[in-house]
Amino acid sequence: MDFNDSQQEAAFRKEARDFLEANAEKRSIISDKPNDKSPQIAVAGAPETVKGGKEAAQEALERAKVWQKKKAEAGFAAILWPKDFGGYGGSPIQQVIYSQEEHDYLVPSGYFEIGIGMLGPTMMVWGKDEDKKRYLPKMITGEEIWCQLFSEPSAGSDLAGIKMKAEKDGDEWVLNGQKVWTSGAHFADYGMIVARSDPTALKHKGLTYFYLDMKTPGIEVRPIKQISGTSNFNEVFFNDVRIPDSQRLGGEGEGWKVALTTLMNERLAVGDPPGLDFDQIFEATKELEVEDGLAIKNSEVRQKMADWYVQSRGLQYTKFRSITALSKGQTPGPELSISKLVTASKMQDVSAYALELMDSAGMVHHDQNPVLKNLFQNGYFFSAAMRIAGGTDEVLRNIIAERVLGLPQDDRADKKVPFNELPSGKN
């Protein structure tokens, strides 16, 4: 057992580190920038929160694009993509190494992950050559941003239950309906969408998959104000949106298969979220006073901290096991399925407990909050979303139970019934 890089890995790590050192600023455990909400956590496609209205958001987007261009020129923007499409043609282990290094730096995140991580790979599998040539290189450089139009008001965990209508009209399709939880739809140039082309077929059989220009007439994007007061997600309404059949990916009725390509990449795209963990609360307990002195000296606090430490490091070492498997050319083990499940709840517990330790000062969530820069107040809100986004805790437990442990699937009411005959409640 050792933690050493191979010679090749060490060379790649140095390359990555040199690039980051020259182009980005190091992250501190608890950011000392006033108003900096960025130590909170970016899930794929949910960019760091920007305060200050539209202009500030636009500036942040421009900064992100500048950063992405630099990253792309250095080759690190799409390490796993083949060189033909502007990628690095690298290995999973190189992707891991770069992510490890980038984790220590304050860089824009949440704008490009969905495209590069999920939608690009979908196009590589299902797209025509001319599409790949046209769209993929600009996805990497950040010139064009993509969003994923999957979830709907009545189809979240049960994604295949979507109702967005796709009706064929000559060489065109007409889309009508609503998508929701679409990260980045408000700044995305393109999107990929799955819609129901045959409501009389079984649930998974009547779907078709397309890509589209977000400026197509009939698309309306409305941001959703979240629990945190900020907006990373949107509702997207489709009103007689016409797109050519040439923008179909996969066959008619094959949409679920194509969507699975996207979703299989999701687990890889949702990276290693920086932010609120044992290290942050460990630092905080050295500052916060409770009734008998510094929080870190209180035995109840210490007991709880130990639990979070072993969860946090347990995940890190699980990742080391996966990296080992990757570098031996094997498929990684359980890491991907347990990481978000553990991280999100841990963040929620850590945040809530840190607020307890602040006592009444924990109530304050003001811009100029001098106490630990709102870190835990932000985490308290963000973690509630993180337990749901990208697969709820419950869906993740089902995945572990069924795919990892091999337990039987739930009894399902929707297996043999045409979609339009399924009970659907008030919707």
Partner: protein
């Protein structure tokens, strides 16, 4: 990065698993559970000794195989899986490690070969009263080359031939008053009283010492430092036993949930049960990874050991305690019968999380070692 066991170590694991599957089935475990007079499985003990497991990490010059601590971790996991009713941990993780790390050349020559061969069994005694052992509640004394006092509980005390004991070498009652001594238990003045334990396959006794001959181990007044170090080493090994036991608890819960039908379906298809088993799996994977990190620190003599060992211990105790109790829950009524095996794991899980300091004690160790590391 290579954060995994080697192919040879995995081969050793496979062999150990197969061997224990054949020789240490539940029936053998129950022979010790059901009979108050039996303290360990003698036949199994002599078989695993013959194969050299007891000498795994003991140097060849003292009769061992001279392999490393990683090999011992591999064997520990298998012993945990099979619930092996032997004094392996007392004799090997504790007694042998104390002698190996702190014994003089002569002491190593005197004790290690018979421990490595399994011919003799050693153990360790610290606690005397309820609650967390600390220097101030050790009353056993060493003076004029004799030990007087009382220890309880002493794991595997009934079967042990040798004992390492913590005793006061002066009467100040502080950390540097304590020294370690080696006792040959086959002498006058040693009296043992059997104690029933929550897991009778891991027995204990109390011991009284009246003018018992003893020899010093390591430096006088340094007992506490030595105990901390050996407990750290043992914590990693125990964490592998715990991970092994936890994994089998999950496997058996899963098996039962797929065989048992209720409401016209396999109970393993109910989310309430699936989610429980998913949670077991998560805790076990975290514990396994923490144990690996402990194994790395142990095998490389890293100064990360105190943190790594405590992390492994806390995580493994959590995983095994959870898996064992929820295994009973998933079995329903039969889960708390004597006939079903669930209680064997439930017993073992709690015993293993108490034997070298409770989980809360190890959580405290973890945080205090993290504080120390930060200062350094």
């Amino acid at each position: 990065m290579n954060f995994d066991f080697s192919d040879d170590q995995k081969l050793l694991r496979d062999q150990a698993r197969k061997f224990l599957f054949d020789k240490c089935d539940r029936k053998s475990v129950r022979t010790i559970l059901d009979d108050d007079q039996l303290h360990y499985h003698k036949e199994l003990w002599s078989q695993i000794s013959e194969m050299g497991w007891t000498g795994t990490a003991i140097p060849e010059e003292y009769g061992g195989l001279g392999l490393g601590m990683l090999e011992l971790c591999v064997i520990a996991e298998e012993l945990g899986r099979s619930l092996a009713p032997t004094p392996f941990s007392s004799s090997i993780y504790l007694f042998a490690e104390f002698i190996k790390n702190y014994g003089t050349k002569d002491q190593k020559k005197k004790f290690l070969p018979s421990i490595a061969s399994g011919e003799k069994i050693g153990t360790f005694a610290l606690s005397e009263t309820n609650g967390t052992p600390k220097p101030s509640n050790v009353k056993t004394e060493y003076s004029s080359e004799k030990i007087n006092g009382y220890k309880s509980p002493v794991s595997d005390g009934e079967t042990a031939d040798y004992l390492i004991i913590a005793a006061n070498s002066d009467n100040k009652g502080n950390r540097n008053s304590l020294s370690l001594y080696i006792i040959d238990l086959h002498q006058d003045g040693v009296s043992k009283t059997s104690l029933e334990t929550i897991d009778p396959t891991r027995p204990a006794c109390s011991m009284k010492f009246e003018n018992v001959k003893a020899e010093l181990l390591g430096e006088q007044g340094m007992a506490w430092d030595m105990i901390e170090n050996i407990f750290n080493r043992a914590a990693v090994l125990y964490s592998f036993e715990q991970v092994g036991g936890a994994q089998v608890s999950l496997d058996e819960a899963k098996k039962y949930s797929m065989e048992r039908f209720a409401f016209g379906r396999q109970i393993g298809s109910f989310q309430a049960l699936k989610h429980k088993m998913a949670d077991m799996y998560v805790k076990i994977e975290l514990a396994r990874s923490n144990a690996y990190y402990g194994a790395w620190a142990l095998s490389t003599d890293s100064n990360e050991l105190p943190v790594a060992a405590a992390g492994a211990r806390v995580s493994a105790s959590d995983a095994f305690n959870y898996a064992a109790k929820e295994n009973i829950q998933i079995h329903g009524g039969v889960g708390f019968t004597w006939d079903y095996d669930c209680h064997l794991f439930y017993r073992r899980s709690k015993l293993l999380s108490l034997n070298i300091g409770s989980t809360r004690q190890w959580k405290e160790n973890l945080i205090s070692n993290l504080e120390k590391r930060n200062i350094v």
